[in-house]
Symmetry: C2
Subunit: 325 residues, 2 copies
């Protein structure tokens, strides 16, 4: 049984062994190496390893699939950043800025196929299940991204719509990582399903926490500017709750700000934050995070392995919930 | 044993049964249905079926993989059209024009995963081989596209470079279709390899013929305007050969035209075509097509099945070589 930091060291070391970016043409591979080098928390491969480790010990039996999931995740970041016209990722220039849009498209495509080439290393007894879950999840993430883009121009988004979207865009990939770990560890179906369920609830809590940090986080620790979601009128749980619970005056103020194309950024962020506080949107969001956190822990309890084996997953969950960045 | 038109009918019928675009969100699936509805020759799935049919009869055992290859091919068209800023595909608006760039990116990504979801239907005894070949090929096609884009701004491209590029961008996918058909038909390794080799040479001949038709084709039958490659200075076998064999005056004229940003389109096409004729570039290209055509037929001869079984593949090859569009 290994803890988060031991697992991260193992992943980093294996990445160097397994991933190869020295192939030609260089310009296809350099952007892949670049985006992976930007770091990131590597939560998804860590979850795969921790889940595997509930049932089995030799991480070499799960590392290719764990890296496939991380590769897939970074591919979605490369394409999403392009679609969202983002400028920075983890404080560094995004690929379509450092190179150009075509590079982000094609190197992203190559990352998706590379992810499948890592999945391909799965022993044939597990391959059909792992491949099917991986593709199903990949498709769900695209659906989530499509809803996310559609929500930008819609004004009738409910919190249910929002939760459905983040389940697809974020939660299913965490769940997939956990389930693949379980499958490769030879867990029974019931345990694999509970770990998937744990991942869904953890993923929802994780994304809601991310939204909360985007408003209330420490900008230095968070690694991106505070208030980004507010500036682009992103219909997060916070904004939807605020609009639902606002009085006439508060609602009018929010809607007015949302229609302005030129405005003082700091003032908009301050006013939105105040209204989030006044309408209890912050509190509702924190309660929703707790709600999914509790559901996640409940699901993990159902996994029939000794409690002490679950400690790494519990610690990582705790870390993600308490994080300030 | 079935001929091309019977095979096409079977593919079209099965597409309707197997492919489902009624899922949500609609905006993710509509562009996929749209690009597939534009038609196209469906050469790749037909090759998979014909290759399979050398060894086995029940097309239901190869149709998912054949459709996966066609889905993958259309995904590359969707992303390539965006990267190339094309306006029309088969006479209709391309996806990024009919919708927008983000739609082309995300629906294209979904097509790539959809292709893998079709591959997933492969019986587990064949799955590792089919999956590996499919991913290897998909990655090679990206490499080809990357070289193609890089060649646009380079001036030192040889015919060898060009042939290497079209091998990756075009030929390997035809070869992959043929080999997957053979594998699923339970062919031995030697036969599968000869069919792959047939596909590589057929693919090279096919692409060179495409380049030739872009200059010398009948614009109505060809479905796109004649001279497109000339207008964008595409370094095809024709242009490279012309530059290599041109005298001082011809070379200077070609290079001058290539530097102009505003010009009379018809005049440029006419002058390039004349120089292609004068420098024997057309003849060299036709000889090169014949050369690969003969190599393809040679490879097919090595496949150890009765000659009459090869008739559909031979007829299709003939059709592709004689085509005027």
């Amino acid at each position: 049984m290994q803890n988060f930091s031991q697992i991260l060291s193992y992943i980093t070391e294996k990445e160097k062994d397994i991933l190869n970016f020295k192939d030609s043409p260089q310009k296809l591979y350099e952007p892949i190496e670049y985006i992976l080098s930007l770091g990131g928390k590597k939560i998804r491969p860590a979850l795969a390893l921790m889940s595997f480790n509930l049932f089995s010990d030799n991480f070499d039996e799960v590392i290719y699939q764990a890296l496939a999931i991380e590769m897939y995740h970074n591919f979605t970041l490369m394409h999403d950043d392009l679609m969202d016209k983002a400028l920075l990722r983890r404080g560094k220039a995004v690929v379509h800025e450092k190179w150009d849009a075509n590079t982000a498209i094609l190197s992203g495509d190559a990352m998706l196929v590379y992810a499948y080439q890592l999945i391909e290393k799965t022993p044939s007894c597990f391959l059909p299940d792992v491949l099917q879950l991986f593709s199903k999840t990949a498709m769900e993430v695209f659906k989530g991204q499509q809803y996310d883009m559609e929500f930008e121009t819609r004004t009738d988004i409910s919190n249910n719509d929002y939760l459905k979207m983040i389940r697809l865009k974020t939660a299913v990939l965490l769940a997939c990582a956990l389930k693949i770990g379980a499958v490769l560890g030879n867990a029974n179906d019931e345990n694999a399903t509970w770990l998937y369920d744990f991942g869904i609830n953890l993923g929802l809590a994780f994304q809601l926490k991310d939204d909360l940090l985007d408003v209330y986080g420490n900008s230095e620790k968070f690694g991106k500017n505070i208030g980004g979601d507010i500036l682009c009128n992103k219909k997060t749980f916070l904004l939807i709750s605020a609009l639902e619970n606002a009085n006439e005056k508060q609602k009018e103020e929010l809607l007015n700000w949302m229609q302005l194309t030129t405005f003082d950024k700091e003032e908009k962020i301050n006013r939105f934050t105040s209204i989030y506080n006044e309408t209890n949107a912050r509190l509702l969001c924190e309660q929703e995070i707790d709600n999914y956190y509790i559901k996640a822990i409940e699901a993990l309890k159902h996994v029939s392995v000794a409690d002490d084996k679950k400690q790494p997953l519990l610690s990582l969950t705790e870390l993600l919930m308490q994080r300030e960045s």
